[in-house]
Symmetry: C2
Subunit: 432 residues, 2 copies
């Protein structure tokens, strides 16, 4: 192993056999953590070639179970988001594209830090379960064309172990390692094609559009080498997506969006991502046809009904979908008001996300317990005019004591200036 | 710790407090190996500033016991060699400079790999012991102005632990880490001033004179920041030093050199290194005076007698010094002869060193047992003319089976060409 570390340290390309040796040795425990972390730091400095990255992805993917979706007819198109604040697109896209005829075999994760997770949001719904066997998962999809379950420990263990080590050794920020982590999971879940929403901004992992473009290229390159079509959409995460942050609040907004009453940014992003999924899934010939089809599915109630079908068959209380007022509510509310009049120049996504975690909507550590009713309802977006004393946001929590800290974050999050501004577009780039 | 790794990774300078935190945390076990190895790889890529290197040296030095030599009057000048093949200079310099009036409190190490260690060489002498308490060590020096003992485990434990980790994580080759390792040990041993022999060549750690010069600068800089005068001599290690490699064989050659009958290269290097030691120890006003003094001490027998005094007071059999034929002898010998006539263009030090290890003179692993009589006697140096069939080297071993492998190394080690050559000087540079 020390020779392989030196090889990477000295900028040479590793062979597939060598990468296999490293990953298999790490997962089996034959190569100690201290050698892997030194190796990862060498990768941080010297990067990986396209061939190395694809090989790494392949070995990570094969480190655990592979989900076989071949019993499900049709092209299985998965969507992945690099994570943002208020990002409830999966709750909307899953039933929407399933209703359009694309089979949705969704394996999701939980939230950590300032970004939320699909599973936590789904579990806001009374009775809904994301735990099921592999067989149940596939049966549900065969019957309903949709199911959402949790990723279990047997899926890509190399990624879990590697991420845990990278997280504590300063080796997370490498594009090849990030890309192989994303792709190994999507491929192990059996995706035939993948649409990736790469978020850029203060609330996102990628801080610049250039970084996001590089990630998109590496992801596409891995896809090409592994025979999977990949499309990437680079979208803004400078302010939260939509008007809600927090689990039940986001379910409520997803329902509204599936009924055609959602906020513009969230609806636009879903249309963009969904159109690529429909085209990749070969249920629409091009983007325009796909968007028209999705609008029809929303207008006809078919997308909304698919969501209810999903909730019902996973044991959730469907009456909460028809009456979102029945979703979990926090006991206390607090209105956060504008300190002056002017135009909103910033609604910092990261700080809103952190405020939301403070209110109980997210996890500070893996063991934190989620308060499904907690969160933030936003009333204004960047570019909007606000009057002094007008409510900018409503905070929800079961613990009044949380409001002070959350408000401190909000004070930092909002920037109001007298002059108007030209707002950055939501969709920054699409890479086909 | 992860923030400190990132700070170094991103090329920022660590504060003394941060370096202290890292080293103390590592030694105490509070910071895991995998974080230290990632940190070391970041240091490998981004280096360390002079201030960081001096601080690292200081913290490593303080990780264990500090030898207090203040009870011994005079300036304690230590010598360090970065390691080579056939390097028995300590055996000569210690009694020589002690005879000149510089107190010699020598803590030495054992050999590993293709380079030998002073302790192993000393132990060729029947009965000689390098184990003594700190008090005995100081008492001996107070009485005899000289003692040689082993470094025990309580001396700079940070260096031992760090080196073990660096060795298996590809992070050995960094000039700051190498320099701090050398200096922390020398300073912990109580040296007031230090002469460092930096070897360059195939048998040495430094492969180019530029590397050696950089190391010399870093060593001098650490010394300056820690208030110790450091002089560095860069010497050639392309061929072995002197005409013998192996423990008893080298003792025999050291005795001859102390009697003024040593080979020219070994004698020259001892004069060069010794002169700096005498000047730093303020027993000679300049290099010329120092060399004259050392020649007198050799001619008068004082240096030789000091060696006998050293051997005797450490329990060694002094008759073996007067009659080196009584030193351990290997049972078998083998003469390695020139395959053709011509000039010796290469006597590869590394390969000679490895052959010597194969014969039993060195350690392949820490637990290998040394055969004190084993080794190689060289008859020709680079530049010499040889006739086909003439003996180039005589091999000594207690196991006949070792000769084949050793001869394979020798075949690679010797290069004979018909044309003459201009030989590289032994002393490549002196940095005052």
């Amino acid at each position: 192993m020390v020779e392989l570390i030196k090889k990477k340290r000295d900028g040479k390309e590793l062979t597939p056999e060598e990468i296999t040796e490293i990953i298999d040795g790490f997962v089996s425990g034959n190569i100690p953590d201290y050698q892997i972390s030194a190796f990862m730091m060498a990768v941080y400095f010297n990067g990986m070639t396209g061939a190395e990255t694809a090989c790494l992805t392949d070995r990570m993917m094969r480190s655990g179970d592979l989900i076989d979706l071949s019993e499900i007819p049709g092209i299985k198109v998965d969507k992945h988001s690099t994570g943002g604040v208020g990002d409830k697109t999966t709750l909307i896209l899953a039933p929407l594209v399933a209703a359009a005829g694309v089979p949705v075999a969704k394996m999701s994760g939980r939230g950590l830090g300032h970004t939320g997770g699909t599973l936590d949001k789904m579990e806001s719904i009374e009775g809904l379960s994301v735990d099921m066997t592999r067989e149940e998962f596939i049966k549900k999809i065969q019957k309903h064309n949709i199911a959402i379950c949790g990723q279990n420990q047997t899926l890509v263990p190399a990624d879990k172990q590697l991420y845990a080590l990278r997280d504590v050794t300063g080796t997370v920020d490498n594009i090849s390692l990030i890309a192989s982590s994303i792709m190994s999971k999507k491929l192990a879940c059996g995706a035939d094609a993948i649409v990736i929403d790469i978020k850029v901004g203060n609330g996102a992992y990628m801080k610049t559009i250039e970084q996001a473009e590089r990630l998109a290229e590496v992801l596409k390159d891995i896809g090409q080498q592994m025979g999977r079509e990949v499309r990437a959409v680079i979208s803004s995460m400078y302010e939260p997506l939509g008007m809600t942050v927090g689990n039940a609040l986001e379910v409520e907004e997803a329902i509204a969006t599936l009924q055609g009453k959602g906020p513009k940014d969230l609806t636009d992003l879903c249309m963009e991502l969904g159109s690529h999924m429909l085209v990749l899934g070969k249920v629409a010939s091009d983007k325009e046809v796909a968007i028209k089809k999705m609008k029809q599915l929303i207008d006809s109630g078919a997308a909304y009904n698919k969501f209810k079908e999903l909730v019902g068959m996973q044991g959730g209380d469907v009456s909460q979908i028809d009456h979102p007022g029945l979703l979990p509510q926090s006991e206390y509310q607090f209105e956060y008001k504008a300190s002056k009049s002017g135009y909103l120049h910033e609604v910092n996504a990261l700080k809103i996300g952190l405020a939301s975690v403070k209110l109980g909507a997210g996890r500070e550590t893996k063991d934190s317990i989620i308060d499904h009713g907690a969160g933030i309802r936003l009333y204004k977006k960047v570019g909007d005019h606000v009057e002094e004393g007008e409510t900018l946001a409503r905070l929800y929590s079961n613990d009044k004591g949380n409001f002070d800290t959350a408000v401190d974050f909000l004070k930092d999050a909002y920037v109001i200036n007298p002059n108007t501004l030209r707002k950055m577009p939501l969709i920054l780039k699409t890479i086909l």
